[in-house]
C-alpha cells in the first residue's frame, strides 16, 4: 500500500465537505499548514 514519505510533496486531493463544497489540499498551499487526521470512525 502506498504511504506518504516525509519531506516529499503530499498527494493533492479533493473532497466535498459536509455542505457539498469542494476542498482541495492545494487550496491551502502558500497560506497555511494542514493537519490531516484520518479518523478511525465515529465510535
Amino acid at each position: 500500500m502506498a504511504k506518504v514519505e516525509i519531506n516529499t510533496p503530499a498527494p493533492d486531493f479533493e473532497l466535498a465537505d459536509m455542505k457539498g463544497e469542494t476542498v482541495r489540499l492545494s487550496d491551502f498551499r502558500g497560506r497555511a499548514s494542514v493537519l490531516l487526521v484520518f479518523n478511525r470512525g465515529f465510535a
Binding site: 493537519l35 490531516l36 484520518f38 478511525r40 470512525g41
Partner: protein
Amino acid sequence: MAQLRQDHDEFKKRKAVVLVIGPEDAQAFKEYWRENRLPFIGLPDPTHGVLKLYGQEINLFKLGRMPAQVIIDPRGAARFVHYGHSMADIPENAELLSLLDSINRV
C-alpha cells in the same frame, strides 16, 4: 477528537488548518459534527479514495481503520507522518504543535 477540539485554538494560532477525513458519508459527518460541536473541516470519504491515497492502515483482525495523522507545510510537503498501529496510537498534540512551531520559524 475531543483532545483535538480542546487544542484547536493552538493549531489556529500556528496557522494550521485541521482536516478530518473518514469513511463515513456526509450525513454521518453532519450528525457527529453537530453532536460534538467540532470546529474542524470534516471531509467524508465514503469511496475511500483519499484514505487509500494516503495508505491508511486497516487492521483486518480488529476490523477497523487505524488512525493516521499527516502535517503538510505551506509548500505542500509532508513534514510529519504517523500511521497508528492500534486504535489508541495517536500522537500527542504537543508533538504536533511543536512541529508546527518549527515550520513557522523558517
